[in-house]
Symmetry: C2
Subunit: 394 residues, 2 copies
């Protein structure tokens, strides 16, 4: 797995500035494949959904040739006008690429309720289309909002002697929360693979990556992961869960996890990257509930920002789930060093454990001593800068 | 209802510095009634509970004469040692007041996992007991932690020609979250009232006050509301839900609501006092879920801090509950001024509504247009100072 933005065979992309963002940074992007693609889409579960998602769901099972993305406006809570705006844009993409509107997916990120300035986007479309390149590096920039870093990853594998590439570009730094972290991710592969298997592999990869991160517990109306496969690698089509399938799945997982980790690393105002491991849970659901409550606790997050050892806040957050476990049996470790065992504080370890909190990466192991289930979650601290970014955002 | 700390007939209280807090501020307090009291107790639902609560639950149905409170240590996550510590303290209170240990309730607030310095507390006990006064003003100070303001309220009513007083002292500014906001509240009344009716009236008052506030979504292991009634007013004992019962219930509600409001006003780092009204919900549960998700959303809270109008974040938080409502039918108002009606943004009202966000008190009305249920919640914004207070706390 490499942190590089490369395009699999048959794919091209582009990104330019159209005039949506005041900052004059790139704000529209395009992915194109002349070969028709099978597609999979994973969307937010928020009751409020971007118009882009509502429209994409209608055509996700058709053959797809392009994905249009914009940043700066979420096109959510925009009602009929938002649908009309998107229709104008898709028509413009279709005309410029000689496609049908039903062959183009769209995704958006930015301020909720803000309309997209359609005229500017339509005017910029010829430039965007003419910028399409198989060696593009501008698309990942066009989807950024509060992101500080660009996010991409790729993996090259060999299937039956053929070179197969899985590549992705993503964005996400805030409004990041479980059950589909808030983000856009665009995944391309030239693998020839049965559509149902593509979906299955992508679903599992989403579960172990984007559904395992939270920055602020806030879920966006725009979360989208698109996976496109155009078969251009020329490998013998994968139609069963054989060794080739496992290779593709593994590549997807590596690429997804890398981007998920980058999102947390780039979490708004984050000074810490925290991996929470909850083990010894009675059920999978218990492990997840405990992990999410801890990860989203303002008191836990501010304690990490302050680099202060406050194990009580972690156990209290766990207890707030009302889940059935005995606080007097738990074990808690920071970067492998125990501060609580069998429910008892190890006061003599205090200074030694406190040192671990100065580090950028902190691994927290909480064993509930209640069963055999486990889950992990990646999260951040809560800093002055998080408040600043989100108080000033609009 | 007056924001005064007065003691009903037969009650005395005191507060002094014993040596728990580094700040040298008052840290132990005592309430005493020579007349035996019927008591009601409402406790945190957190799975992690303070030792004080575990012990109090055993005797809450007996006749009570005193309540000991300390700040600076939560006595939670302290295991057997914590139980022994409390036993020493209660024995000391009992000896100094000539009571039995089973007649004394206790409550604590402060850092989780920190032990109470028992020797210091026991040594200070004679001074605390000798300080008991029917005109005390030190008890409310002894229970403060991050609180900036003291919190108390009282109501004097007349029942059958007799003067009856309901009075309360409370603390709470952070770790404040629904299903029993995080806090300690000590309520005293000299009303003669049947114990079951006292509990019923207090339960309803808790529901409409302390269970309707949230500062940070974090629930403490120490939440406690004690209600003591010693009958010293000499009114004819209330044994049915008659007009006298309603008077007492109303007084309890007024006093509870006042203290709950003070807790939110004093919310850690808070610059805004926000009342959320969720109406038009399909069920009571839906109204509450939507209210809590909005109130605890970091993005909503930081937007209020930034005084920026971002209705999309509110609707997105509501949508994150997965509750069944149609975003295209909702209405949203700030201080009575509409910014969304029928799911449409009223762009022309933007500047006018934005002005309301400069105010300290903001009332938010969200109508889901989905049914007849309603609930409210009091909350705060999320500021730099909240982060500062909780990053530095330990």
């Amino acid at each position: 797995m490499k942190k590089e933005y490369i395009l699999p065979a048959g794919f091209a992309s582009a990104g330019i500035y159209a005039g949506i963002k005041k900052s004059k940074k790139f704000d529209i992007g395009l992915i194109y494949s002349a070969e028709p693609c099978d597609a999979a889409g994973f969307f937010t579960k928020n009751r409020l959904k971007s118009v882009h998602i509502l429209e994409a769901k209608k055509i996700i099972n058709s053959k797809i040739h392009a994905v249009f993305a914009n940043s700066g406006s979420a096109n959510a809570l925009t009602g009929r006008v938002g649908h009309a705006d998107l229709k104008f844009i898709l028509r413009s993409v279709a005309e410029n690429l000689n496609l049908k509107e039903g062959q183009i997916l769209a995704a958006a990120t930015g301020k909720i309720s803000k309309r997209i300035p359609v005229d500017k986007v339509v005017k910029a479309m010829p430039e965007l289309v003419s910028g399409l390149s198989t060696h593009d590096n501008s698309f990942p920039k066009a989807i950024m909002t509060t992101d500080v870093t660009q996010k991409f990853a790729s993996e090259v594998i060999t299937i039956g002697g053929k070179k197969v590439t899985v590549a992705a570009a993503g964005k996400g730094a805030g409004m990041i929360s479980p059950t589909m972290a808030t983000m856009l991710v665009f995944v391309m592969t030239d693998a020839a693979i049965d559509k149902a298997l593509l979906k299955q592999a992508a679903f599992e990869a989403v579960e172990s990556s984007f559904n395992r991160i939270t920055v602020d517990g806030d879920m966006s109306p725009n979360d989208t992961v698109y996976v496109l496969a155009n078969g251009a690698a020329g490998n013998k089509k994968i139609t069963t869960k054989n060794a080739d399938y496992m290779k593709v799945k593994k590549a997807l997982q590596a690429v997804f996890y890398s981007i998920a980790e980058d999102m947390v690393m780039d979490g708004e105002g984050a000074t810490k990257f925290i991996k929470l491991n909850i083990s010894g849970a009675k059920t999978q659901q218990q492990a997840e509930r405990v992990a999410r409550q801890i990860a989203n606790s303002q008191l836990v997050k501010t304690a990490f920002f302050g680099q202060s050892l406050n194990p009580g806040r972690i156990i209290s957050a766990a207890g707030q789930t009302f889940e059935d476990f005995n606080p007097e049996k738990i074990t808690l470790k920071f970067n492998g060093k125990a501060i609580i065992t069998g429910g008892k504080m190890l006061d003599k370890n205090y200074k030694n454990v406190e040192k671990e909190l100065k580090k950028r990466r902190i691994e927290v192991d909480l064993n509930l001593a209640n069963g055999k289930y486990y889950c992990y979650l990646l999260t951040t601290d809560l800093s002055y800068d998080y408040v600043k970014i989100n108080a000033d955002y609009s």
